[in-house]
């Protein structure tokens, strides 16, 4: 079933080869060119293209390995100067590379599925649970949209996360840590969930049977340090440069397409209060001029990224977002410390990712996958979690729609989203043998149709004085999804703490 499922999905992905691809395609082509043409010492200094290398070294080595195959497809793509090069063979190669490396994801999903059998706290058993885990992970519509159309390697990366979780389920803590360290050195965004790992490993592994074991700590520590040394070793002379590439803070509080998180709502409230303030308390607040408003409005929504000044509400510096994020992580980490088992580990992991999605600095809407994918594993454990998963995943995938903006992709994303939603509802209903969503929740999910119809169709037929507010569709998507994402966060958090 592992191979059959993977191959079947690969066929569907292959059909969508001619789809729209985002600038991320060029980003990766550029990295193929950099790693294949230049020596290791120049990888993090090269800046011919604006898409400089900003992933950790292991990913650079990954691109290097890919470039060895790429040369057989079209050597021209490996020339750094060929900015924006996208011949048919290039597209074929790049798309195929994503499809093939998804095998890591399939193996990770399979491992988790198998290792779930060992968990004593899990009630639902049987082939329907196995089928649900494996199928819902592999067919995840959000992953399909982001990886195989927009273009990224998230399947490959999340494969390592799943392998790590799978190992943790088997109490193979060192192996689990190894996978996670590899993952961190592939893409550092997974730092967001590192606190869960830290607490869990400390409690479950180092405090072996309530006795603190120094040997274990040393083993774990050396493993982590060793991985980082292998990764950063070749770049030991350029650590500051690498760090500056990995953590660029010139970017703004919100990404170009507003991720449905707390700050999106915060920005909106600030805007609304500004407008209200202007109408009622004119001389109490510094009134931004028309150009100011248009300027900030345009920059927040026009796709440019920069620091945004808030007018009514306090401005939010990056440090504040870190502190707030961390504060929100603390309760679930404490719970994990008290009851360290694999299931709680998965729950805290999800919640850590979720907290950083909601309160983090410059969060991509794609980051919603960091909650959805691990939560797929939790969905088969209890009915409540299945419900939260459905709400999160369906809303989360919907929030990715603005990423695929061309007309052609409108139907792609619609069909993918609808099919997966039906699949998830059907498979989870079979696992838990009951209806999972209440009427109110179903209505909320169905309301997405209204948002969709407005944002994709109606908005363009509005009279000009309304249609010029190009950000309204994005706002609609963001607010609607934020409602679901934030409310489900609160409910899931309460659920976890009450376990």
């Amino acid at each position: 079933m592992l191979i059959a499922g993977f191959l079947a999905l690969a066929c569907v992905k292959l059909l969508y080869l001619p789809s729209y691809k985002s600038t991320d395609f060029e980003v990766h082509r550029n990295w193929l060119a950099i790693t294949s043409s230049l020596g290791v010492q120049s990888w993090y200094h090269e800046a011919t293209s604006q898409w400089t290398l900003d992933y950790p070294p292991f990913f650079a080595w990954f691109e290097f390995a890919l470039s060895k195959v790429a040369v057989h497809f079209d050597p021209e793509m490996l020339v750094i100067k060929n900015l924006g090069y996208s011949s048919d063979k290039t597209i074929l190669f790049q798309r195929l590379s994503v499809i093939v490396t998804d095998f890591v994801f399939a193996v990770g999903a399979w491992t988790c599925m198998k290792n779930m059998h060992n968990l004593k706290s899990v009630q639902a058993r049987g082939p329907s649970r196995d089928a649900a885990i494996y199928t819902l992970l592999l067919t995840n519509a959000g992953l399909f949209m982001v990886d195989h159309i927009h273009f990224q390697y998230n399947g490959f990366l999340f494969g390592f996360l799943l392998l790590s979780i799978g190992a943790m389920m088997q109490e193979q803590y060192l192996l689990g840590s190894l996978w996670f360290c590899v993952l961190l050195n592939l893409k550092h965004i997974y730092m967001y969930i590192a606190p869960a790992y830290f607490i869990f490993l400390l409690r479950a592994y180092c405090f072996n049977n309530s006795a603190f074991s120094i040997t274990r700590l040393v083993k774990l520590g050396s493993l982590v340090i060793l991985t980082f040394v292998v990764s950063f070793g070749p770049f030991v002379n350029q650590i500051p440069q690498v760090i500056s590439r990995l953590f660029p803070f010139k970017r703004g509080l919100c990404h170009a397409y507003w991720a449905p998180n707390f700050w999106a709502v915060y920005n909106l409230v600030d805007k609304a209060l500004t407008i209200i303030g202007k109408k009622f308390g004119g001389d109490m607040i510094k009134i931004p001029t028309a150009t100011d408003l248009n300027g900030t409005q345009a920059s927040m929504t026009g796709g440019l990224v920069q620091d945004i000044e808030h007018i009514v509400l306090p401005s939010v510096p990056p440090l504040a977002t870190f502190i707030i994020t961390f504060l929100f992580m603390v309760p679930c980490l404490i719970k994990l410390w008290r009851r360290p088992n694999s299931v709680n580990f998965m729950r805290s992991l999800t919640l850590c990712g979720w907290s950083s999605f909601l309160f983090g600095w410059h969060v991509h809407e794609k980051a919603v996958l960091i909650m959805i994918l691990p939560m797929t594993l939790l969905a088969v454990i209890s009915r409540k979690e299945a419900k939260y998963f459905l709400l999160l995943a369906i809303t989360g995938h919907f929030s990715l729609f603005p990423l695929l903006f061309p007309h052609q992709e409108l139907y792609t994303k619609m069909f993918l989203h609808i099919a997966w939603a039906f699949l998830a509802v059907k498979m989870l209903k079979k696992v838990h043998k009951c209806d999972l969503l209440t009427l109110a929740e179903k209505i909320y999910l169905l309301a997405s149709v209204i948002i969709f119809i407005y944002s994709e169709f109606i908005h363009f037929y509005l009279p000009p004085h309304l249609a010029k507010y190009e950000f309204l569709p994005l706002l609609a998507y963001s607010l609607y999804s934020a409602l679901g994402v934030i409310s489900t966060y609160v409910r899931f958090y309460k659920f976890f703490l009450s376990q």
């Binding site: 059959a4 066929c11 082939p127 059907k426």
Partner: protein, 503 residues
């Protein structure tokens, strides 16, 4: 209320269809004639800009040599409807004369969506109607069969409409709603004249049912009612042309049945095309002799399965006869296109509803046949630039077929939670093993030929080597299948009683 199983099946089917539609259509980027896509667009242009009596006539405004209408009136009406929408979306799509050869991403999206809409309105409801409320193998196979997807959403055609109407008619007639069935079939026939391939079994099955009526009065009245509905449907469809005069009406007939065309165009997996490799028919016989030979062969070979249905008019025999007759027509009749194999593939899939699912048919013959139908169209698909979607959709189909039990059983009771059946499974007999082995070898051969066709240029002396080999390979297999399917039809076998299925 909402059947989640069907919703899931159809949305997956839409994913496949839309994925294929991202690829090139027939004649893309190939002026001046382009292909079927441009033909369909041209028909929209003609039907909305010109009066009805000029649609099929060669006039100053309507050059019949440039994709003149050659399908019956329902296609023309459909083109008119789509053309009206096209005109409102973007008038340049259907501007008389100016819009010839128009190619743009917007236009492509519009045309592709029109096929999807046709499937949503006709094909999907037909599948649901045929298969009833619980998802069956038949429904799954109809929804993901790559041949139909590649031709309709890749090459570009509207077979979903005529085949959808066909499926509705078969379902109706099996359920003894003969009037509905007759009307639906006549509509299918009036959409594409190739549905005549299915006409004989309908005729003999309905006649057989009439003859089996208890009393003479019943027999006559049933015959009468069916006759009236057939004639009525034809009159309703052709009325505007009758009113335009006898010349116009005859002109339509002349366009639909062009008797001056050759025995075959391109390479087709047809008996005559294969024979032609050795024995040059066109050189030894003249056109009318060839025509006579075709008609005689076709009718003679159709007789056995149809007489069987007349004598024993059961759903099982009817569906098998549809399969056998259409295969005979494909192999032996005049001017066959490789796309017409779809008319054989669909009844083959419908046969899964009347045969046992553990039979050799569903386990071996059917998948083998269906894959070869796609293979037989490979030269056409490669010419359109659709090789990758062909491979992808066919491999996907095979994987789904191999796991049919798991797919379909998910909709039934929790009793299916058991991983394996408690009943002992009989080991396969020698013949079954031989069948399985032959199937694998044959499919490997097909893959090899496809690879060679794509990768290895043919020698200068035989520029059409690979298409010819592919066609010959396919037609020999089809002849084998013809024999096997006849044997299956005539063997008593295990019949699944087709009582009134829940709608």
């Amino acid at each position: 209320m909402l059947n989640v199983d069907y919703a899931l099946l159809f949305s997956v089917s839409l994913i496949l269809r839309y994925g294929v539609s991202l690829w090139p259509y027939s004649g893309e980027g190939k002026p001046p004639m382009h292909g079927d896509y441009e033909a369909q667009r041209h028909w929209q242009e003609i039907t909305i800009n010109l009066p009805l009596d000029q649609w099929y006539n060669h006039t100053q405004d309507n050059d019949l040599l440039y994709w003149g209408l050659d399908y019956p009136p329902l296609t023309a009406y459909h083109s008119y409807l789509v053309g009206q929408v096209a005109h409102r979306v973007n008038s340049s799509f259907t501007e008389l004369h100016q819009s010839r050869g128009i190619e743009s991403p917007d236009h492509k999206l519009f045309m592709r969506l029109s096929v999807i809409v046709a499937d949503l309105l006709i094909l999907f409801p037909a599948i649901r109607f045929f298969c009833g409320s619980s998802l069956s193998a038949t429904a799954l196979l109809l929804a993901i069969y790559p041949g139909l997807i590649l031709i309709d959403h890749g090459h570009f055609q509207y077979n979903g409409i005529s085949l959808g109407l066909f499926v509705i008619s078969v379902a109706a007639v099996i359920r003894n709603c003969d009037v509905l069935g007759s009307i639906a079939f006549c509509l299918a026939l009036n959409y594409k004249q190739m549905e005549l391939y299915h006409a004989l079994p309908f005729f003999f099955y309905l006649l057989g049912k009439c003859l089996h009526q208890p009393s003479f009065l019943r027999k006559i009245s049933k015959l009468f009612v069916i006759g009236v509905s057939v004639i009525g449907t034809f009159v309703a469809v052709w009325l505007p042309f009758f009113l335009a005069g006898p010349y116009t009406t005859l002109q339509v007939v002349r366009r639909i049945f062009p008797v001056d065309r050759g025995l075959y165009e391109d390479k087709v997996a047809n008996f005559w095309c294969t024979i032609d490799i050795i024995f040059k028919l066109k050189q030894n016989l003249d056109t009318s002799q060839i025509g006579l030979l075709c008609i005689a062969a076709t009718l003679l070979l159709s007789l056995p399965s149809n007489l069987h249905v007349l004598r024993y008019p059961t759903p099982r025999n009817f569906v098998m006869s549809l399969l056998n007759t259409s295969l005979v027509f494909f192999l032996f009749s005049f001017h066959v296109h490789e796309k017409t194999i779809l008319l054989v593939a669909i009844p083959a899939i419908l046969a899964t509803s009347v045969l046992d699912k553990k039979s050799a048919f569903q386990r071996y013959w059917l998948p083998w046949f269906l894959i070869l139908t796609v293979f037989s169209m490979v030269p056409l698909l490669v010419k359109d630039g659709l090789l990758l979607p062909t491979i992808a959709s066919t491999v996907f189909f095979c994987i789904m077929y191999g796991n049919l039990d798991q797919m379909v059983s998910t909709s039934s009771s929790p009793l299916n939670e058991r991983m394996s059946s408690p009943l002992p499974v009989e080991p396969n007999s020698f013949w079954i093993q031989l069948l399985g082995f032959s199937q694998v070898v044959s499919l490997c051969g097909a893959c090899l030929l496809t690879l060679l066709h794509e990768v290895y240029p043919p020698p200068a002396r035989y520029p059409y080597l690979w298409p010819t080999l592919i066609c010959a390979y396919s037609s020999l297999h089809f002849l084998l299948f013809l024999l096997a399917f006849h044997v299956i039809q005539f063997s008593s076998g295990v019949t699944v009683s087709y009582s009134k299925k829940k709608l």
